[in-house]
Symmetry: C2
Subunit: 401 residues, 2 copies
């Protein structure tokens, strides 16, 4: 007998038919002799619709009230899933996040979980009930309802699994698990059966849409293993846990991020403090910088390039232009016609040849590299957007197939 936390996302509970399917799946798990806690998201587009309603009042609705509004979406899912579970003959107990003992700080719309008091949940499990919990929400010390940010239901499930010491946390979604590359773009992409937290984090920050990073970071921090699998297919599933460096496969996945833009600042006098000036201004504006490259030319002038998320380009550009005279730059150029391809794998650390192999592979295919950045388990190259698909396929062939 195991204690299992299952999380079902918005597309898994998108309509009543799907909710009934999930109910049966949950009941199956219980009837195999397990205790089950279920975390659910809001149905389908509910959250988007509620945000749209609020935006009719004002473009930037106050965050505390927005949290109160959005929290209703998951509660609807909880109530309906409990009904469906009871329809099929098991007892269910539904909890809004704030009754489930999920205590957060007061940073509305992006609250952090501070503590989980799972007594109530454990009491209901002891009564042989299936416990259903609203994902994405908690309660602040001032008794305000908070939400954990987009994808917060994953975080609820993982944190809860940690708090009640669950044997396993299952994240159900509309894909079969984590793939070596996007299956819609690389026809030989394969399901990864086991992956480390770090690799999954690098994948998320390199353009793969699997899970929100916060949930994975939380799992890594507290060493909570979890499985990503499909709600509607029995096959597949990727186990995510702490892994030792593998001997065999060096690269576990190849990703592409097409939502990046490049800002280049030309002919900045090569003085100490210039880069600091630029990037602290950018950071203060809350803009995440992805990659930074600086070259010093022959004439004591430097060129600085960096990439940001494409929808933060305008904001970043304005900041840099305001600094142009102060830093003595000659010219500022923006380029949205780029993309970033990455190879990721915890094996890389011990294989110094991997980077060279990646650059050669791109060169062999006539693809020019504009920027390079590396971490312990990732190498990323910025290239022209038009070359992205080919780069993705060729790197997948080179390292994985």
């Amino acid at each position: 007998m195991a204690l299992i936390v299952q999380k079902y996302g918005g597309s898994s509970v998108g309509d009543i038919e799907k909710i009934e399917f999930v109910a049966q799946k949950v009941i199956d798990t219980k009837r195999k002799g397990n205790k089950v806690v279920v975390v659910v998201s809001a149905m389908g587009k509910t959250t988007d619709n509620l945000i749209a309603l609020a935006k009719q009042i004002m473009p930037n609705p106050p965050e505390k009230e927005l949290d109160l509004l959005l929290s209703t979406g998951e509660i609807v899912s909880v109530a309906l899933l409990c009904m469906a579970i009871e329809k099929y003959g098991e007892q269910a107990e539904g909890f809004p996040g704030y009754f489930a003992g999920i205590k957060t700080d007061a940073f509305h719309t992006k609250a952090k979980i501070q503590k989980i008091e799972p007594t109530k949940i454990l009491n209901e499990i002891k009564k042989n009930k299936i416990v259903v919990i609203a994902g994405f929400q908690g309660i602040s010390s001032e008794d305000s309802i908070t939400t954990l940010g987009r994808g917060g239901s994953d975080l609820t499930a993982i944190a809860l699994a940690g708090a009640i010491n669950a044997d396993i946390c299952e994240i159900y979604t509309d894909v079969e698990g984590v793939f070596t590359s996007d299956p819609n773009r690389v026809k030989n992409a394969k399901l990864i059966s086991v992956i480390s937290y770090d690799e999954l984090l690098e994948m998320a920050s390199s353009g793969a849409k699997v899970m929100q990073s916060r949930a994975v970071e939380f799992a890594k921090k507290y060493k909570i293993p979890f499985v990503v699998k499909s709600t509607f297919k029995e096959t597949g599933g990727t186990m995510v846990k702490e892994l030792e460096v593998r001997e065999g496969a060096v690269v576990s996945s190849v990703t592409i991020n097409e939502n990046q833009a490049k800002i280049s600042i030309f002919k900045v006098p090569d003085r100490p403090g210039i880069a600091g000036k630029i990037f602290s201004a950018i950071g203060e504006a809350g803009i995440n910088v992805n990659m930074i490259v600086q070259n010093v030319g022959r004439d004591n002038f430097a060129d600085v390039s960096f990439t940001v998320d494409i929808n933060e380009l305008e904001k970043a550009k304005k900041i840099v232009e305001n600094l142009k005279d102060e830093i003595g730059a000659e010219k500022i150029l923006c380029d949205t016609d780029i993309c970033e391809v990455s190879i990721i794998g915890i094996g890389m650390i011990n294989h110094p040849g991997v980077a060279g192999r990646m650059f050669n592979c791109l060169a062999k295919n006539g693809i020019n590299i504009e920027m390079i950045s590396t971490s312990e388990i990732r190498i990323s190259c910025v290239i022209r957007k038009k070359d992205g698909q080919k780069a993705l396929e060729e790197l997948h062939k080179e390292f994985i197939e």
Copy 2:
């Protein structure tokens, strides 16, 4: 400076435009120097839509989960109204019913308020905020979310007004107040400026759709005066409070109830205990009986007739038919072609001639009376349904115009 509770029903917050209108109305009240607590219902058809969703799972959804589901409707209204209030420059604090300290018993879907702990509300008022509370809902001692039954938001507002010792409770709705008769049916129907709790209760049970009786009963019990007025019109308004018997007008309103059906049991042996047998069986089935008439004939046989709500007719009929042999009745007949007209007024008690005047008025117009029942402040007659409209108009002319 007064402490005012305002309640806005579902049609008053039916869309964003109306919510903004309500926000401005609330702000106006505050800027006149008052402290304001607002109780809101779910937007328009939200509650009906949520019920329909639950019924897709099962025709009779479990009540505890249904309460959790339905409670989200009012929370959405609270969040949106707070946003709108803040948009127009005042601070608002929104409370789901369970955070507002509304403690109920655990009878889900029809919970009774047991206690209100208004400390949190009063704290926010002290901070000069407009407090917005989700109507219709509370929390049981087991921390389950409960709802107070249809029209429960009126009850929330009135009970809250009592608990915080408000100077006045204003129930905003889509009519201008309480009328002497249904303005859609009686062209000379007039707005009543002051009416007693008892009269309003008798009106509600006699077919007038003004407010749920539970809210009025609560107001009467705790002597909480309130005003019924229109959200969107400045004119009108009816004050409801405890009244001494009036000197002047005897009859304050004329009502019609067309949702009644009559069951007649013919030729029952006139023995003690027969009526008891019939009506305890009906009562045990949870069916409310409206009017009962029994005549003893010459031959020691009695005829018993009674009226019930038309949609409980089938259930009641079955019960009576099961008893037919036991009580020795000869025949049972049902009649849905009836209606009940009533005149209501606290002045009646001291005016014995009123009943005769009512019967004469109907007779003069060729309308036959089939059953009569009276209370201290009401006289009702069952007549043919086809005569209902004429009876209503003539009685209004006789007693009010």
